[in-house]
């Protein structure tokens, strides 16, 4: 399936919607229904813009009207005070929205979950109150009015807003199904794993928020220039809450769901306004019931990746064949000295095992190497350069760590998990070591299954597969043989050997000594935070220090 083919569904939907709009305008020229649909399409645009970020990222922004209202007021002012034409304003609006989106992204780059939700809410509430402050400028409660409308007729207005909504729909769907959308989705499901895979966290979120802001701002500007005024309700919490509810009900990870929900809700709201008083209440009550009883939203099926994913951009196989040096690394947690001056060197194309009693510092060492934890002192050098950056950055530089316990991207398929890695590292399923690994472990037959529907053991294999797919220069495996069958263990060993032949340095922390000793060129023994021995496998247990560390006189149980 070619790259474009997956978007045909989107384009088809857009064409249908466009067709429907044309039919309506021709059949009912200049009627009330057209007005209704105009407003509904703007509303749909609001919701689409919310869902394009909050869907994949699995966040809930309570302050979406911050985007809508800020740019709406800005364009209103540019028009009334600055004399800018409506068309110019409409063109500027998405740009402004994108900038606001970037600003919010940079303000909230560390915020997740409820902290993100409340921070966005705070921004929105503040803007709302501020708009009441300078009445001469902002018009207080009545807002700014007397704005020239951009379309002379109702049909014209609908053509504009309907068209914009369709464009918004197409853009959102393309984003959600694109590589960027997949990366954001990975972030939303499991940020830790995404970082370890090398997904650029801040950039991905910023891009999506900018897109979200641009679409929202377009909606806001369209409102201003079709209705002819900007009022505080554009920044209100009621609108914001409605957007959240409908966006959630529409279902995550698709734009069509929220859009549909938006249009439906709006139409329902307006059509029921025989008794104007009760409409709002009834609609709100219905929304509440829906949120309670419809957990995953209206559109449940999610478009998943199916393409084989060709690589683009070749990276040289082993990059710099450099030694990785660990120099006197120390790290304490609370009162415990977890790492007490660890020093060793990893040669390219070598496999180094790390063993030691529990509490010796093995896991901490891996975390320091990967960039999850900063050492208190000591140096890490790769070739001539010091190693810098956090987990995500090092992953993109070719350093990849797997996880001891099961980490996955939730209900993404196996193929999508691999696609995340392959997107970041520009590799493909045709990676030789990867293909063999997938075949030997049997994962190849389950590529299109959702990972959370498969046994947890498979998730660990997928984690390793993702690491292989990254074509790493330094691979850190944390107890890879734990809980695997003999065949799977063999596949892992084969993969390690293939990577080694490609020039990768591999570090394996393990308790299963049989498998490890068959694989390792050298074995480093750790105890009490230091490397007490660095021997070939045959010589490890001849070393008296090692025996003392594992000694049977002491009560220490762990091997």
């Amino acid at each position: 399936m070619s790259r474009l083919a997956k978007y045909t569904g989107v384009l088809r939907g857009a064409a249908i919607a466009a067709g429907a709009c044309v039919v309506v305008t021709l059949a009912l020229p200049d009627s009330h229904v057209v007005d209704l649909l105009t407003a509904a399409s703007i509303f749909a645009l609001y919701i689409l813009s919310w869902a394009v970020f909050c869907g994949p990222a699995l966040e809930v922004s309570f302050g979406h009207t911050f985007f809508i209202g800020s740019v709406a007021y800005m364009t209103a002012l540019l028009h009334t005070r600055g004399g800018l034409s409506p068309i110019a304003c409409l063109l500027l609006a998405p740009v402004g929205g994108a900038l606001v989106g970037l600003a919010v992204a940079s303000l909230t780059f560390r915020h997740r979950g409820l902290y993100f939700s409340m921070a966005t809410m705070a921004l929105q509430l503040t803007l709302y109150r501020c708009l009441f402050l300078y009445s001469p400028l902002f018009g207080g409660e009545e807002g700014i009015f007397g704005i020239q409308t951009i379309a002379a007729t109702r049909n014209g207005a609908f053509a504009l807003t309907g068209g914009a909504a369709i464009v918004g729909y197409v853009v959102s769907e393309i984003y959600v199904r694109s590589r960027q959308g997949l990366l954001l989705s990975a972030l939303g499901h499991n940020e830790r794993l995404a970082e370890a895979t090398g997904v650029p966290v801040v950039r991905s979120r910023a891009f999506a928020l900018a897109l979200s802001g641009a679409l929202a701002a377009l909606g806001g500007a369209l409102y201003v220039f079709t209705v002819g005024q900007a009022n505080v309700e554009l920044v209100g919490d009621r609108l914001s809450a409605r957007i959240v509810l409908l966006g959630t009900l529409g279902g995550p990870q698709s734009a069509s769901g929220p859009a549909l929900a938006g249009v439906m809700a709006y139409v329902l709201d307006q059509l029921l306004s025989n008794s104007i008083q009760y409409t709002a209440l009834v609609v709100s009550a219905i929304l509440l019931l829906l949120v309670i009883f419809v957990p995953r939203g209206l559109v449940k099926k999610r478009p998943t990746w199916r393409e084989p994913h060709a690589a683009h951009g070749q990276r040289p196989v082993s990059g710099e064949r450099d030694s990785f040096r660990v120099l006197d690394v120390r790290r304490a947690f609370g009162g415990v000295q977890a790492l007490n001056g660890v020093t060793f060197t990893l040669e390219p194309g070598s496999v180094t095992g790390i063993i030691g009693p529990n509490g010796a510092g093995k896991t901490t060492l891996l975390r320091v190497l990967a960039g999850e934890v900063e050492p208190d002192s000591g140096k890490l050098e790769w070739g001539a350069r010091a190693v810098r950056g956090g987990l995500s950055r090092r992953a993109r530089q070719g350093l990849r760590k797997t996880f001891q316990h099961v980490e996955s991207f939730g209900d993404l398929t196996v193929r999508e998990h691999l696609a995340v890695t392959m997107t970041v590292h520009h590799t493909s399923l045709e990676e030789p070591a990867l293909e063999d690994f997938l075949r030997e472990t049997g994962v190849l037959g389950e590529l299109d299954e959702a990972l959370d529907q498969l046994p947890p053991a498979v998730a660990r294999l997928v984690d390793i597969a993702m690491a292989i797919a990254a074509r790493p220069r330094l691979l850190l495996l944390d107890e890879p043989f734990a809980g695997v069958s003999a065949a799977e263990g063999q596949a892992i060993s084969n993969a390690v050997r293939r990577l080694k032949a490609q020039g990768t340095s591999v570090v394996v922390v393990e308790h299963r000594l049989r498998e490890l000793f068959a694989l390792a060129d050298r074995v480093v023994v750790m105890n009490h935070g230091a490397a007490i021995a660095n021997e070939t496998p045959e010589h490890v247990f001849l070393n008296p220090d090692v025996l003392a560390a594992y000694g049977t006189q002491k009560a220490s149980m762990d091997l």
Binding site: M118, A122, L133, R238, L245, L281, V283, P295
Partner: protein
Amino acid sequence: MIEILLLTLTRGSLYAFVALGFALVFGSGRVLNLFHGSFFLLGAYGAFFLSSAAGAEGRPWVTLGISVLAGLIVAGIGYVYYRLLLRPFRTNSLRLMVLGMAANLVVADAMRTFYGTRGALVPSIIAGSFSIGSVRVLWQEALLVPAALVAVGTLYLFLSRSQAGLAIQAVAQDPGAAELVGIMPATVLGHTVAVAAFLAGFAGALAAPTRVVGPDMWSFALMVSFAVVVMGGVGSLVGTVIVSYALAAVEIITSIVISTAAAEAVALGAIALFLVIRPRGFFDVSAR
């Protein structure tokens, strides 16, 4: 100077009242109850409804009783909300947040439908005002200070002396260990929500005479509660109280120096600034 102090005391007492309950639910139950703002709203409207029905104008004890009654009614509503909506979804925080929002909208729209968008007028317990320096202080507002003192004191006694209160503390510190001694965290959450609802509802009823009672009151109450709890450190009731007064101070000083209209905007701006810069608070007592 003394005006600032006095007004800060009254405003801060109100914030502390509203935020303490939220702090308990968030800190002990580890649940973000966005419906909390509506407790405040319902208390205010409840006071309005009851006092119109009882013809309480000019009868201080009746009005006081109505305020307490309103608080109790909201406590009941809070418990029902807990049973129907909080308990089943307390493990899914994303969904719970959206639910809380939906519930807020329903209540706000209900109030708008039955009482209109215009502010509702609620009679004071003690009408009129007094002056200190150049500042008028409403008696009703001043009442908030002793009321808050009593509330905080009672809460402290409740938490430290009663079995139910100790259970709330235990669950706040270690829900797993609490289960092992026979405490059922879900039940404790219900008690906590009821207490929180009472506090917020009672505060709403007390504050109603002094402000415009409108259907959108919930958002400000919620925002203040959340911000104050986070700034004071989740799990620290003392921190919550301190920050309540600090925030009130910012608001009062702004209203005197710039204008009353700007006060709320500045307070919200300070909250927004804080939530953006230090989302997890200054005195984070809870585990990460």
